[in-house]
Symmetry: none
Subunit: 189 residues, 4 copies
DNA sequence: GATGAATGAGGATTCATTCAT
DNA sequence: CATGAATGAATCCTCATTCAT
């Protein structure tokens, strides 16, 4: 039920955008009544928040798997794995990803919900540290978030242009990320 | 008058976000009546579109100036100039920039309005070509847009974190951009 | 079960007022499900009606006891007893009393439910008659209801002001009642 | 316009009661759209508050006139005048008066709106003082409010019974009030 | 009987847009 | 042209009531 609403919300956001997103539409798409929707979510915002959490969790899972499989690889190869994971997720539903990226800032998610965001960054941080980045923790996190931002931007741009070749896109992301990381410290490359 | 409305719209978007953006608020902030607003803009969307055009034009101007001053520099130094221009613009009103980036996609701007966007990319394209990038026109434009996307993403991320050191940020953008461009063709580096 | 619902209704009315009174809240407070509530009460109104009946019955009982103990007293002393009884009841739950006074009019209680109201008036009528009031039955009832209205008004006013001294309040009620009764007929005083 | 809404609100309250009172109904009765209603009143509550203020002001005016004309009369005759004024007002729209009496408590009126209530009490206070009541200010106000409460209660009760003889009602109110005031201090009688 | 999820009409409020002045 | 009152569709959310389990 909760899942049905969240998925309906995703579909409405994808097809009608933020402006066309309203609880009646979501309920109808989910095949339930508005009243039922409000039995599971305290507000319209809560629905978007739940969707956001779900999407982030999916991304986090994909990234976690990629990070595990990349444990013993070079930085470049590891970044390829992570980029591939991000691409798979973000491209699965590009319009949705774009809207959620925008809304998340406004959503003031619970601390627990921010956890998955931190998770994702954590994998990148671990990766950087494993490859000898000599940075303070704060700098590492900043670098991780920046790399993620770069990946997101390039994926969004590619999605916006239409047909995407995942492999080529992956290459571009990794090059940009490596470029970014170069010089942060000698160890990072 | 048109300017007053557009600037009022900017301020409302900055302070209240997309959700708090409405024509009455804009008119009041602009010191005119709603009726007058509708004499100059056919719809609410048109106001946002005009604002978007204005902001892009400002960016384009700044980028054009930077490009001119960078005509005889190395790719890296030239990118520094462009990045600096983008940072100055985007950081001038970061919240506004973020919202417009999001809305522009939905806005279906007139072809004439897209021109400035193309202008900005044009400078990057020219830069790439000047430094020996051996790419088709389509690839060049794609690369230009990607570089712009990277810059935007890193600036937004920095703005989101709070205090920004423009110089360090500029360095990060240039490194990522150079990384991205590396390998697109041997000529690009 | 019925009692639990009625008491829950009382509590909700006291804490949230008429506007916050709803069947779900009542059921929850009563520790049962809404469905069960509707097994014992045909409608929301019926719950309020039952509460009203209960409260009136409590008042009637208190008044009946007072009347009995006042059988051989002077009119003034007897009125003191009745006033004391009313004060004890009304002040026990002043907010509730006020709301029920208001709602009872709208509730169109069953004839059987009006019985207790008539009971209360009956004691006052008996008292008046016992002390020589020479009035028609209709006038006696009218006088009784008016005296009750006076008592209610003064108790509500006192409750509204906050801290109440029951003895002083009792005195005020009796004086007003005696004043009212004076001249209704010579016999009444 | 504001007046039309307020009067429409009065009519809706009279005919449908608190439960049937909604902004759409009020707007329709006023012959305007809901939107217009909200241009003049910030909320549904504000409409009721405005109505309450209006009704109180009418009562205050009537009481003020009565008080003036009663300046040189005996306490009893003066009370007759005041009671007559209250009766004329309260009986003009008894159902409305009852509902407003109930709602006013919940309404948390502005201090300025409470002024008229204080005005009305002020006339009674002045009356009491003029006739030698030896009471503290606080006690005087309390007495005034109690007398008003008694008048209201008896008028409501009479209205609830149906046909009303204003003169007889006036007599009952005055007797009750005098009874109440008797003994508050020797001077009061 | 008890449950409580589901329903959906109802109601408060907002806001894009119009148009008479 | 400027104004801003008027409009009313749209949207969020509530809650009395039902009914399948």
């Amino acid at each position: 039920m909760v899942d049905a609403v969240v998925e309906a919300a995703a579909r409405i956001l994808e097809t009608r955008g933020l402006g066309g997103f309203n609880t009646n539409a979501v309920a109808e798409r989910a095949g339930i009544s508005v009243g039922s929707l409000y039995q599971y979510f305290p507000s319209k915002e809560a629905v978007v928040a739940a969707l956001s959490v779900r999407e982030r969790a999916l991304l986090a899972a994909e990234v976690a798997a990629a990070a595990q499989s990349a444990a013993s690889l070079s930085l470049e190869d590891a970044l390829h794995r992570l980029a591939g994971a991000a691409i798979r997720r973000q491209l699965a539903r590009p319009a949705l990803a774009r809207i959620l990226d925008f809304e998340e800032q406004r959503l003031a998610l619970e601390e627990s919900d921010r956890a998955t965001t931190r998770d994702i960054a954590g994998h990148v941080v671990a990766l950087l540290r494993a490859h000898g980045a000599v940075l303070t923790v704060a700098d590492l996190e900043k670098a991780a978030f920046d790399v993620i931002a770069i990946a997101r931007a390039l994926i969004d741009a590619a999605a916006g242009r239409g047909a995407v070749e995942p492999t080529a896109l992956e290459g571009r992301i990794v090059r940009a990320a490596l470029g970014y990381l170069t010089g942060l410290s000698h160890g990072a490359c």
